[in-house]
């Protein structure tokens, strides 16, 4: 009994030591992204009274001679102090490429970013696919040859750069806690929706007077939008997202087909060369709906039949594989060939696509509008 208890305690102790060692080692690595750098306690690069520190301070144990060229590019790296890591890394990479000096890449956070930077410096004249960070990542995945920073730096690098890492890492941590709004979804949406007004479509293109519709477009203001339907106008309309406006057609409208446009304080969406039209009629047709396809999981050689309603007169099908026009459509079905999409030939042999299912979103456009609920299916490549 005592022996077993002692054995169990030993196991527990070993596990605890293992956990401690793991954290200790990992923390040591994490605290200095470039582990081989000796910590000499040298001043942080760029913080020595505005002048560059000596180019070749003594290295520990003679392991690595410090070479930091006192060039304008090196000074530029010191000025790459944006708290946003993307901006900072980009700034450093630009300086490294400009100076054709790959040692400057060590100021980039992360081994992939450094590798990408070195590739950019070394292979500026090479083909595009060899250069980007994505190519590096994909190479890693596809060929199972991990692309990591070499155990010994390609170039001997200043210990001051290692400290610059620390400084940058602090800046990045700070940026994550207080993100720059320009790099958030809200920042993007603010830019995206601040365009002049553009009107794309309505939830249906044929309607009775007095029908509630949704206008889809871009650049709508929070309040004060006005939708013009021929000589009619509906004003004082709000848009919460800048991309849709819910409104009701005037009940007194006469039947007919009208040009439509939106105006607000940013201008007018009216485009005489590409009019957006709305038909007011006593017998409006509904937009198409899609209920299913056959076969349910088509292959590249299949002809697909789409089932639904109000498909007659389809102007085209709009999918995440591209556009097909001149499709044959009856009232309740239409057909097309998967192989008719030009994209198929381009992607069918690409790794990650070949032999796999690829999700496709399907929209059918007709004179009555398009299916408001996109239909999703998979294609077997």
């Amino acid at each position: 009994m005592n022996t077993r208890r002692a054995l169990a305690l030993v196991v527990l102790l070993l596990v605890a030591i293992g956990i401690f060692l793991f954290f200790w080692l990992f923390k040591k690595d994490a605290s200095n992204p470039v582990a081989p750098f000796p910590d000499s306690g040298a001043p942080i690069f760029g913080e020595s009274g505005g002048s560059l520190p000596p180019a070749n301070p003594p290295a520990e144990g003679g392991a690595s001679e410090v070479i930091l060229p006192p060039t304008p590019e090196a000074a530029l790296i010191a000025s790459c102090d944006s708290p946003v890591s993307i901006e900072r890394n980009d700034c450093v990479k630009k300086a490294a490429v400009k100076a054709q000096n790959q040692s400057l890449c060590a100021a980039i956070l992360g081994t992939l970013g450094q590798t990408d930077c070195r590739n950019a410096v070394l292979r500026t004249e090479d083909k595009i696919a060899d250069i980007s960070m994505d190519a590096t990542v994909r190479y890693d995945f596809e060929f199972a040859e991990p692309v990591v920073a070499p155990a010994e730096p390609v170039d001997t690098i200043s210990t001051r750069l290692a400290e610059a890492f620390e400084k940058a890492a602090d800046a990045v941590r700070e940026a994550r806690q207080n993100p720059d709004p320009r790099y958030t979804a809200d920042g993007f949406i603010a830019r995206f929706s601040s365009s002049s007004p553009m009107l794309y479509s309505f939830s249906r293109s044929q309607a009775l007077p007095g029908t509630e519709l949704v206008a889809q477009g871009l650049g709508f203001t929070k309040t004060g939008n006005e939708i013009h339907i021929g000589n009619y106008a509906v004003s004082g309309l709000a848009s919460a997202d800048g991309m849709t406006i819910r409104f009701t057609l005037p009940g007194s409208m006469e039947y007919g087909t009208y040009d439509t446009w939106v105006t607000n304080e940013r201008g007018s969406s009216r485009n005489m060369s590409q009019p957006i039209r709305l038909t007011i009629t006593d017998s409006p047709l509904s937009p198409p709906t899609i209920t299913g396809i056959s076969p349910s999981v088509p292959t590249l050689s299949d002809t697909v039949t789409v089932y639904g309603s109000n498909l007659r007169g389809a102007l085209g099908i709009y999918t995440s594989l591209g556009v097909l026009e001149n499709v044959y459509a009856g009232d309740s079905s239409l057909t097309f060939k998967i192989s008719d999409f030009p994209m198929i030939e381009k992607i069918k042999d690409i790794k990650g696509v070949k032999g796999n299912l690829v999700a496709v979103t399907l929209i059918v456009g007709t004179p009555q509008g398009y299916n408001q609920e996109p239909f999703l299916f998979n294609v077997q490549f």
């Binding site: 596990v15 190519a135 709009y318 690409i350 456009g365």
Partner: protein, 137 residues
Amino acid sequence: MKPFAHKLLAVSVGISIIAFFAYPLRAKAVIPPLLSYGGANIFSIPCTCSFSSWSFYAPLYLSSIPMAGPIAYVPGASWLFANFIPPFNLYADYEGAFLPGVQACWMYAGFFCFPLPSLGVTAFTGTGLPGSGAPGI
């Protein structure tokens, strides 16, 4: 006693596994709901109704598993990495972040515009190739 030893071992292994996975997994992605992506742009067309373009990426990496799909690009709203070549350069590799679910590419046909489906719209992107001279971010 044997069950006790087993329990102890199981708890220890469990703690080790949790510690192993919990510590290094720190988020380095862009701020949600933006998603980071990378991929080769093999096909790009202008959207005839909206001021944007529709770029098809294959392979497209939203994770370590390659896939394929389109992402829209909106000049002005989609920011470029400074001095890096913007989209329309086919077979170039891009990285960036996109906002999923927003349809930003619309095609004109028959007095109406129809959405050309995409995974979302690019918030910022760029290649690894310097030299475009674009104003960038």
